[in-house]
């Protein structure tokens, strides 16, 4: 079959060829700043950009006349939580109706709650009910990045069951949960992978930490608990744990910190392992200055000498994470 070929056809073909080559040429050769340019002179342009994020300040304004730290002692979890919150104005001063609250317990290990290595599920259950019912929070999320299998840690510490009974949501750290967090004032973790997805939409953050012996740093309490928000190669942190914990004290500014003094791990921390190391007690500390709270708990709950306060508390004070001396800011409910 003869194919008609004339000048028009020829020009069309030429136009097609030049359009394809011209388009491809533009994409490949236009300088990088030109629109649609795909050129990559250095090879660095195609490197994925680390999508850093920053955390907002979750604190609420201090009310005049209120204490910063409250201590509650009672036989029941319910009672000691109420008493601890009383001097600082009660839970509803911190959480308003409609808030999305993130609770960060310590679920680091696959251990029974009786071993004192993790936050007690009873406290979480009571706290979540309060947040949802009394404070009318819209949602309560509970998350941690454990050392061992996250699903197991949450299940075997009893925390998953407690959270779900109370109506909260457990969020596990899957591979997509993290993004680099920018903390310009930190010394060693200026940019480090941190929970991102679980924090989307969160308006209030409450740390709920056990009080534990910790062989490297002295003690693991309220500040050290934030270690569990981070991902990445955390095993490097032990090269300078005190600076890291001091960095944690300014990395996140939580709404509230609660120290769970119901099972205090006195020895062999942070894992424990023998119920004999655990001192059952009746205290809860709630407050907004983690540095002072950790200092107080170190002396009064772990019953260590005040002259042996962990070095990180001094570093944290220097960095502005809080003040060690609680005088005039702390009150124990009657």
């Amino acid at each position: 079959m003869p194919s008609p070929f004339n000048r028009r056809e020829f020009l069309k073909r030429i136009a097609l060829a030049s359009t394809i080559c011209g388009g491809a040429g533009y994409l490949a050769w236009a300088p990088e700043e030109y629109p649609f340019s795909l050129k990559d002179v250095t090879g660095l342009r195609s490197r994925p950009e680390p999508r850093q994020f920053t955390l907002p300040d979750y604190r609420v304004a201090t009310a005049p006349g209120m204490m910063e730290i409250g201590i509650g002692r009672d036989m029941t979890t319910e009672g000691r939580l109420t008493k601890a919150l009383e001097p600082i104005g009660g839970l509803s001063r911190f959480v308003q109706p409609g808030d999305v609250v993130l609770l960060k317990p310590n679920v680091a290990f696959d251990r029974a709650p009786e071993l004192g290595a993790t936050t007690s599920p009873e406290l979480l259950e009571v706290l979540i009910r309060r947040l949802l019912i009394d404070c009318r929070a819209k949602e309560v999320r509970v998350t941690d990045n454990p050392i061992e299998s996250p699903a197991d840690c949450f299940a075997k510490t009893g925390i998953k069951a407690a959270v779900e009974r109370a109506g909260g949501r457990v969020l596990l750290p899957d591979g997509n949960a993290f993004r680099p967090l920018s903390t310009p004032d930190a010394e060693l973790i200026k940019s480090w992978p941190c929970f991102y997805r679980p924090l989307i939409g969160v308006t209030k953050v409450i740390g709920v930490a056990p009080v534990k012996d910790h062989n490297l740093s002295g003690a693991s309490m309220g500040i050290k608990n934030w270690y569990g928000l981070l991902g990445g190669q955390r095993n490097q942190f032990h090269q300078d744990i005190h600076t890291i914990i001091a960095d944690l004290s300014i990395m996140i500014r939580p709404t509230l910190t609660i120290l769970d003094g119901s099972r205090i791990l006195m020895r062999n921390g942070p894992t424990g392992g023998d119920p004999a190391y655990v001192k059952p007690w009746d205290v809860i500390v709630a407050g907004t200055d983690q540095v002072a709270m950790d200092g107080w708990a170190f002396v009064n709950l772990l019953q260590r000498d005040a002259s042996t306060l962990p070095h990180y508390l001094f570093l944290a004070e220097e960095k502005g994470g809080g003040k060690i001396d609680p005088a005039g800011r702390i009150q124990e409910s009657a």
Binding site: R13, D40, S46
Partner: protein, 525 residues
């Protein structure tokens, strides 16, 4: 009478010139010759390299835009590249010409179109899908990458051995060095030999059936201005045009434009002058503009492509949980995931490395996905301080171009520090001073870092024979070590060196770092 001017003559000259340029390029890519200049040009005009790295990274590195030249050539003249330029195509044709000796009738039968020729399009689709997911595997079959890799790691060592016994050492590829070694080159060589030898039975099996670049150009060729035209008025259907048809493109019936490699043999062989390579004609047999790629083929290729990527990745070698301590990449390499989006396994970095430290990876380091990508083997060589040749030859930026200043962390790069390839360690149970009371300390002596990244605990002891010896027991300062590997290379415990480098601490990846912070001398800062 044969006409004086024949296209086939021009073609043969073109083939010889480009084959010569390619070989010259390989030869000239050497630190005392043209260093990193000439070789990459071939791979940079390869549109398959540009397209697959565009799919994987979203960008076009450095000179890959030159592949438009080849696109333009194909839009004008069809798949001419395959039979006029491609040095591997030339080798195939040559092998067939020399060894595939048959009668004319048999040859005509052999050069008929075969349905299996569609395989190359399926291959192309599969590798492009994998590329889009982030794993560039075109290099396994791309003719230029394959030929370069085979020449360098498979053939060059034999060539250099042979010439080393003569006085023609200037023709050696790596003159003045110890015998070049390429680990695993047997399999690279076997693949090459198989695809060339197969020409004895199946003419240009690789080009017709496997070549993904040929497939890509074949998809562009139907838009070309020129093609082979058969004047149906003159044609007597004698099939003589098939006798030396390189592409098996059916010139005797409906020309398959996607298969025609423009060898022009059919024009020579036509006794009636019915065939011509020209602009569209009024009197001409119609051509078939598309390959025999059915919807089933597409679905099949799509499914295979989708399955292959997770299979390649499942070994965890790319992520930071299961990376190999041996996966030490050349200086300037991108982080592993980015590296695999770019590396086409062409082997130019292995060719240009003056110390032979850059080696084709086996299955141990990165599995199939990273097969034949460059890794540093410090038993064979070390990474020289004032050298960044591998980064200048890399056509795709898997090893991005760096200067020596950047590599060493001098000048404007002081803030970033040196590029670290890994970190050295001392195996105290194999180290002579540590384990055997024998003074040694070669590793500390050769360490090129200032101040030295290897320091010693010094101890005077009385050895077993009663001699007083000073033992300098080495230890590594990881803050200073750049992982250049000279300590491993020079360690006298040569089989399993007591000083050895592993990948941890490499600066291309944040996740594979070793130290929380690099200690400095307070007096310096």
């Amino acid at each position: 009478m044969r006409p004086f001017f024949r296209l086939t003559t021009v073609r043969i000259v073109s083939q010889l010139v480009f084959l010569g340029l390619f070989v010259f390029g390989v030869w000239a890519t050497w630190t005392t010759r043209m260093q990193g200049y000439p070789v990459s040009r071939f791979l940079e005009i390869d549109p398959l390299v540009a397209l697959s790295t565009l799919l994987s990274t979203g960008h076009i590195y450095r000179y890959l835009g030159w592949s438009i030249l080849l696109l333009l050539l194909t839009l004008l003249f069809g798949r001419l590249f395959c039979n006029w330029i491609c040095p591997l195509g030339t080798l195939h044709q040559c092998a067939g010409w020399l060894f595939n000796v048959r009668s004319g009738k048999e040859r005509q039968e052999q050069n008929r179109y075969r349905p299996r020729q569609v395989i190359k399009y399926v291959t192309l689709i599969i590798v492009l899908i994998i590329s889009a997911f982030g794993s560039v595997q075109i290099g396994l079959l791309d003719p230029l990458a394959l030929l370069h890799r085979s020449m360098v790691t498979g053939l060059s060592t034999g060539w250099d051995w042979l010439l080393g016994t003569t006085s023609l050492t200037q023709l050696q590829l790596a003159p003045g060095t110890a015998e070049r070694i390429y680990t695993g080159s047997l399999w690279i060589g076997v693949l090459f030999v198989v695809i060339v030898v197969i020409n004895i039975w199946y003419t240009r099996f690789f080009c017709r059936t496997l070549c993904p670049l040929g497939a890509l150009l074949g998809l562009v060729a139907p838009f070309s201005l020129f093609r082979i035209h058969r004047d149906t008025d003159l044609c007597t259907n004698c099939d003589l045009c098939l006798t030396r048809c390189e592409g098996a493109c059916s010139p005797e019936t409906t020309l398959r434009v996607t298969e025609c490699v423009g060898c022009m043999n059919c024009i020579d062989d036509c006794p009636e002058n019915a065939l011509s390579f020209s602009l569209p004609r009024i009197v001409s047999a119609p051509a078939r503009p598309t390959p025999d790629l059915s919807r089933r083929h597409l679905v099949f290729a799509g499914i295979i492509g989708l399955i292959t990527f997770p299979l390649l990745r499942a070994n965890g070698r790319v992520n930071d949980a299961n990376y190999s301590p041996l996966m030490i990449r050349p200086p300037g390499s991108m982080a592993e995931a980015e590296f695999l989006k770019k590396c086409i396994k062409c082997g130019q970095c292995m060719r240009v490395c003056p110390t032979n430290v850059v080696q084709p990876a086996g299955l141990r380091e990165g599995g199939i996905e990273a097969l034949w990508t460059p890794v540093l083997n410090f038993n064979i060589g070390h990474c020289q301080q004032k050298c960044s040749l591998c980064s200048t030859v890399c056509p795709t930026g898997a090893i991005r171009e760096i200067s020596v200043t950047e590599k060493l962390g001098f000048g404007e790069y002081r803030q970033d520090g040196p590029i670290r390839l890994g970190t050295a360690f001392i195996n105290r149970s194999r180290c002579l001073p540590w384990a055997n009371e024998i003074p040694c300390i070669v590793c500390q002596e050769v360490c090129p870092i200032a101040p030295k990244a290897i320091q010693t605990y010094d101890e005077e002891v009385k050895d077993t024979f009663g001699h007083l010896v000073l033992l300098n027991k080495p230890f590594i300062i990881p803050d200073l070590c750049t992982g250049c590997g000279i300590c491993q290379k020079e360690c006298p415990v040569t089989d399993q060196p007591a000083a050895y480098v592993t990948a941890v601490g490499e600066s291309r990846s944040q996740e594979r770092r070793l130290l929380l912070r690099y200690r400095t001398n307070p007096e310096e800062s």
